[in-house]
Structure formats: C-alpha cells, structure tokens
C-alpha cells in the first residue's frame, strides 16, 4: 500500500480508536466478569447490560476537578498519566491484526513495542515521585524494581521467538507459524525444531506480561491493602482515568503480543479461514484469563515476586535461549 498522509492518518486513527474503545470496555468487561465470579450483577443499570457505564464513567471523571497536591512536582504529576496511556496506544500502530490489517508494518515491530512498553515503568516512577506521598513513593519504587525484574525474562523469551522466526517483523513472525496448531511457537512440534521448553517459555512470557501490566497477582504497585492505592493515591479526575485506561490498553497490548509471538496470530488452529477473527478470538480469550486470574488469586509479596523473576524465570528463559540456539544450529 502506498504510504500517503491520508492512509497513515486513517490507519493510525483506527488503531488508536481500537485501543481506546478496548481500554474503556475492558473496564466494563472486568467489572462484569468480577461480578460473575463473585455472584453479583456488576454494572447493569446504565444501558443494556450496563454497556453505557464506561462513557458515563468517563464523563464523571472528566467533570471532576484535578487536584494537584501541595508540594507536588506539577510537570511530572501531569505528565505521568499521559505517559501511562500514550505508549500503550502508540504500540497499536505497529501491531498487526492480520496480514493485511496493520497500521504500519514496521521491520522492527517487536523492538518498537518493547521500547514503548518500557516507558510505562517511567510513568509509574513519575507518578509516585511527583505525588509527594509516602505510599506513592514506596509503590513507585516497587513498580520500578518489578519492571526491571520482569523485562529481562520477557525480552529473553522474545529473543528466543525472534531467533526461531529469524525476523523482528511481527507479520513475518506470524507467517512463520502458519499451517495449524502444531506450528505455533507455544507447541514443541514445530517442523525441524523440536523444543519441548517452548510451552514453558509461553508461560514465562504470560507471567511477565501480567507483571509488566501490574495485574494481580503482581499488582504490588497498587496494593490496596498496604499502600492505599499505590502510585495513583493522589490522582483524581481524568488523571486517575488515564492510569486506569492505560492499564487496560497495556493488557490488550500484552494479549496481542502473546497471540502474535506464541499462538500463531491470525492463523487458524486447523488451517481453516485464517483471518482477523481468529486473532480477536485469541486475544479476548487471553484477556478473559487475565481477568479471571485477578479475581481468583491473592497478591504475592514483593520478595516473592522478585525471587520468582531472578531465581526461576531469568535462569530458565536463558537456558531456553541457549537450547533454542543449539537446536537451530543443529537442524
């Protein structure tokens, strides 16, 4: 496709629109899902099935006053929620939904998305530091140590996948997995590459994605029962709203990446009708799993979380990297 201004504008608008609508409606889905798990209805008053809840919540949040606490660092305080939301949305520009639906097919798509994702940690640091609140500072310190600990195994796992596919282009990574469920990176039966550890790699990536998006059971950054609300303790109004939407946009990015890297993207498990519907089905199954996990598990401890990363995930993902490299050399 020709790269004209009009094309780019439309593609980017659609990508951002998808991200924003998803972020808003995942809040609704999460609350309905939580309601189902906890045997209560969840939001069901506004509109059919409570579908008008997200826009009304948005209006409510926008109508509220943004209170900046005295002594807060104003510039950082305002920048933090924007930094939480913006990188997640920008990531969608490079995320392919099928071999034709992609806003901008970047050759280093994986790299770009991880570069954007690592900005999320900075936003938490900004929010915590600028709030001038002890709880927020403690939370942001936790969030940063968590981000560092979990980016390493995540990236190592991604390198494994990139090595198998031989490219950093997300569309090509998916193309390398097409042709049925046994060709997906999650399963070890890939033609010419019998690596039984890839299933574990998928789990590592999934756990890291949970930790990177600050989701339960790794939501130490906003541990309500200890740190009140963590880094966004002092945020009200749309500042809080942006953090909230950013979290959900990040979940969508995480689910998309998991699907693209391990679950064969838009390819069908039985080789029939590959297309965007398979992709959407896969990401929403992953998102539902993430919601389900949140409402089932208690929170880990900060040392449990770091131990898991440094003592289990990082050695294991490094080992798998070596094994994959060896297998690639042999076959």
């Amino acid at each position: 496709m020709e790269l004209t201004f009009f094309n780019v504008a439309v593609a980017v608008t659609i990508a951002i629109g998808f991200a924003a609508i998803n972020a808003a409606y995942l809040v609704w889905a999460e609350r309905r899902g939580a309601g189902r798990i906890q045997r209560r209805p969840g939001p069901n008053i506004n509109g059919p099935l409570g579908l008008l809840q997200p826009p009304l919540d948005g209006i409510k949040l926008m109508a509220k006053q943004l209170i900046i606490p005295g002594g807060a660092d104003k510039a950082l305080f305002i920048a933090a929620p924007v930094l939480a939301m913006a990188p997640a949305i920008v990531s969608f520009v490079t995320l392919p939904f099928s071999d034709t639906i992609v806003a901008h097919n970047l050759n280093v798509g994986v790299l770009a998305i991880f570069a954007f994702a690592s900005l999320g940690g900075i936003s938490l640091l900004f929010a915590g530091w600028s709030s001038r609140n002890k709880y927020a500072v403690m939370s942001s310190v936790r969030a940063v140590s968590q981000a560092i600990a979990y980016e390493i195994p995540m990236l190592v796992t991604v390198i494994t996948v990139v090595m198998i596919a031989g490219t950093m282009n997300l569309t090509d990574i998916v193309a390398a997995q097409k042709g049925g469920i046994w060709n997906w990176n999650i399963f070890p039966f890939k033609a010419g590459l019998f690596n039984p550890l890839m299933t574990m790699s998928f789990l590592i990536f999934f756990i890291c994605a949970l930790a990177e998006t600050n989701r339960a059971p790794f939501d130490l950054g906003e541990a309500e029962s200890e740190l009140v609300a963590g880094f966004h303790t002092e945020y009200g109004s749309m500042g809080f709203g942006l953090f909230f939407m950013g979290e959900y946009a990040n979940i969508v990015v995480g689910a998309c990446l998991t699907t693209l890297l391990f679950l064969g993207g838009w390819s069908c498990p039985f080789g029939l009708f590959p297309g965007v519907w398979w992709f959407l089905l896969k990401i929403y199954v992953i998102i539902a799993t993430i919601i389900w996990i949140r409402w089932t598990f208690p929170r880990t401890t900060i040392y449990g979380l770091l131990n898991l990363s440094w003592k289990i995930l990082i050695p294991f993902s490094l080992f798998n990297l070596l094994l994959t490299a060896g297998l690639l050399k042999v076959f």
Binding site: V141, A223, E224, P298, R299, T301, G304
Partner: protein, 372 residues
C-alpha cells in the same frame, strides 16, 4: 511550595497507617517507623472511637447497660451479651431454664461462624484476593437472616434477658439451621479448595510472624492467636459455662504459631461450631425460655465477681464490683482483641510492611471492641 527533600542514607521515615486505611478495618492507627519497606518500629495508637462503655457501666442499671455489650463487637455481638447475662445471673442468683441456655449456645455459635466468615473474607482481601469475601458474605447472610428472624436485628443483638431470652425459636429457625449446617460444610470445602490450597496464600502466610507461647502468654493473647501458637486454651473447655460441658467438640490447636496456623485454627473452629449447633439442635429440650420468677430490679449483693466467656475473638471477661446498689460500683471489660492487638508492636519489628499487614489481618481485630 517546593521544599527540597534531603534524605540521608540511613534515615527512616514515619508512615501513618490509619486511622483511615484499608488494612486496619476501622479506625486503628499504626505509627510505623520505616526503613524502606522494612518496619523499624511500630506503635499502635487506639482510642479513635472510644465510647466510654466501662464508665457507662458505672452509671446505668444492669438491664440498661446490657445493650452496650452488643455494641462493642459488631461482628460477634452475641458472645459479649452472653458474658454479661451469665455474670448477672450468677451474681443475682437467677435460675435459667435449660432450653434458654441451649438456644443461647446455638445462637452464640451461629454468631461465631458469622464472625469467622467475615474475618475469613476480610483476611483474604488483605492479601489481595477479593472474591472469597463475597462468598463468605453470602454464607454469613444466611446466618444473619436466621438471627434476624428470632432476635429482630442483624448485628447488634439484644436477644438475651437476665434469666432467659426475649423470644423463643420456632420451627422455621430450626429448619433453616439444619439446612445451614450441610451447606456451610460444603462451603468450607470450597474455601479450602479456593484459598487454603493456593500456593501464593500458603507462601505468604507460612512462617509469617511466628508467635511463641511465651509472647502470647506475656500479652494475654487468646482465641486463635493463642491456639495457633500451641496454647490449648478455650474458656468453653477450661472454665466451662452455660451448657458447653454437654457438647462434644474439639479445640483446634496448631503449634506452628505463624499466620497460617491462626488461619487454620479459625477455619477449624467454624467446623467445631457447626458440630455444637448440630448437637444443640438435637438435644434442644422443651420448656419455658424465661424463669417464673425473674426479678424486676437487680440488686446483687456487695462483692467482686468475674465471668469469662469465649467469644469469636477470644477470652472476654467481665469483672464486676458491686456495692449492693442497682448500679455496679465498677465494671471492667477485658476485651480479647485489646490483648491480641498489642502483640503487633513487638512482632512487627523488622518485618516488611506487606507481611506485617498480613499478620495484622490474622489477628482478627475489631476496633470498636478494642476502644470500647
């Protein structure tokens, strides 16, 4: 406004947890001196909802004061009322019909289960798991509905009278209580599956805040806090009162002394309470619920009296010094949570804030009962 902050490398800071904080479940305040995430020193500050219950005891007549007892602990109110009526009956020499005592035991145990269920939900919520609270509240709702039918209220019951009860139980209550027992046993199995076996849950609680027997004795701890540290002490067994000697039940004791042991004790206590209710319903005798000659005005002879009961929160004692008039000379309430809470200051030293707050959850604090 912008004041530069100079933090020295070894400097500690003070974190005020409470009086409004999600983990304290009420208006308890803990002044924590923190070194990063580690607690250097913790100091519990109480008294934010002090209501002078003990002073009121010196001003009101016995029937007037009876209402105050159920306002102390809003989760397990019947146990406290039970202590008071037992004391006054002992002091004034009132005979209680057997049926009334059985119904008291049944309702107290139901209330104990309700209290433990709420604690279970809130405790798991302290650890970051939200859903068990909703399940626990649903089971608790069943109990509250049952108690509401016969007592007329849902939390702050004034069901007992000096000498008996306000209201007899009916067939519907017995039926729903019988229905409740298997249902609760099923729920308990579900809770064990959902929570007790969870690896994160076990990892967080195992070896968390180990309390030695000596520490528990030093602070006068009771309830699951003491029994979780291997102290086999339950007022219902050790100083039997009411009709408890006629029931066959065990006192769950776990020797580990960590938060998981305290959790296990309370979950096992629900099971034992169910057994007591089952036996109580089987043995429930017919007869009146109030004695024929209940005195209108209670004037105990001068003296010093004490009655202890095992409430949902532990060993609750009332000491009454009477000078022979209609109002007590002094009424001292020994509330179990007050003693249990003071374990926190000593034990929390050197702990991470996460672990310390998990430990606080395992103590089962109800703040109005501490402040009285």
């Amino acid at each position: 406004m912008s004041v530069p902050i100079h933090i020295q490398p070894d400097e500690t800071f003070v974190l005020n947890v409470g009086p409004q904080h999600p983990a304290t479940h009420g208006v308890l305040r803990v002044k924590m001196e923190m070194d990063g995430e580690y607690i250097v020193n913790a100091e519990t500050v109480i008294g934010y909802i002090h209501r002078m219950h003990e002073k009121m005891g010196e001003l009101k007549t016995y029937p007037q004061y009876y209402m105050n007892l159920s306002r102390m602990d809003y989760l397990g109110a019947l146990g406290y009322s039970h202590g008071h009526v037992l004391l006054v009956e002992k002091v004034a020499g009132i005979e209680v019909p057997e049926r009334a005592e059985y119904i008291r035991a049944i309702t107290v145990e139901l209330n104990r289960i309700a209290s433990h269920l709420f604690w279970f939900g809130a405790f798991v919520m302290d650890l970051g798991g939200f859903s068990p609270l909703m399940y626990a509240l649903q089971d608790r709702e069943h109990i509250l509905d049952m108690l509401e039918r016969i007592t007329g209220s849902r939390l702050t019951y004034s069901y007992y009278r000096f000498g008996g009860l306000y209201n007899d139980i009916d067939d519907q209550f017995i039926e729903s209580a019988r229905e409740f027992i298997p249902r609760m046993r099923k729920s308990l199995k579900k809770y064990h599956k959902l929570v007790t076996g969870n690896i994160i849950f076990i990892k967080r609680l195992k070896d968390n805040a180990i309390l030695s027997k000596e520490t528990c004795r030093k602070y006068g701890a009771s309830s699951a806090v003491a029994r979780g540290s291997g102290i086999n002490y339950d007022v219902r067994k050790n100083e039997p009162y009411s009709v408890y000697p006629e029931f066959d039940f065990d006192v769950p004791v776990y020797p580990e002394g960590d938060s998981l042991a305290r959790y296990n004790v309370r979950m096992a206590e629900i099971e034992q309470s169910l057994r007591i209710i089952e036996q109580g319903l089987d043995k429930l005798p017919d007869g009146p619920i109030m004695p024929k000659k209940a005195p209108k005005i209670i004037k105990p002879p001068a003296g010093d009296y004490y009655q202890a009961v095992e409430t949902a929160r532990g060993n609750f004692g009332i000491r009454l010094i009477s000078d022979g008039t209609k109002v007590p000379y002094r009424l001292k309430l020994r509330s179990p949570t007050y003693s249990n809470m003071h374990l926190f200051d000593e034990t929390a030293k050197g702990m991470l804030i996460m672990d310390a707050l998990a430990f606080m959850g395992s103590l089962d604090l109800v703040i109005p009962e501490i402040d009285r």
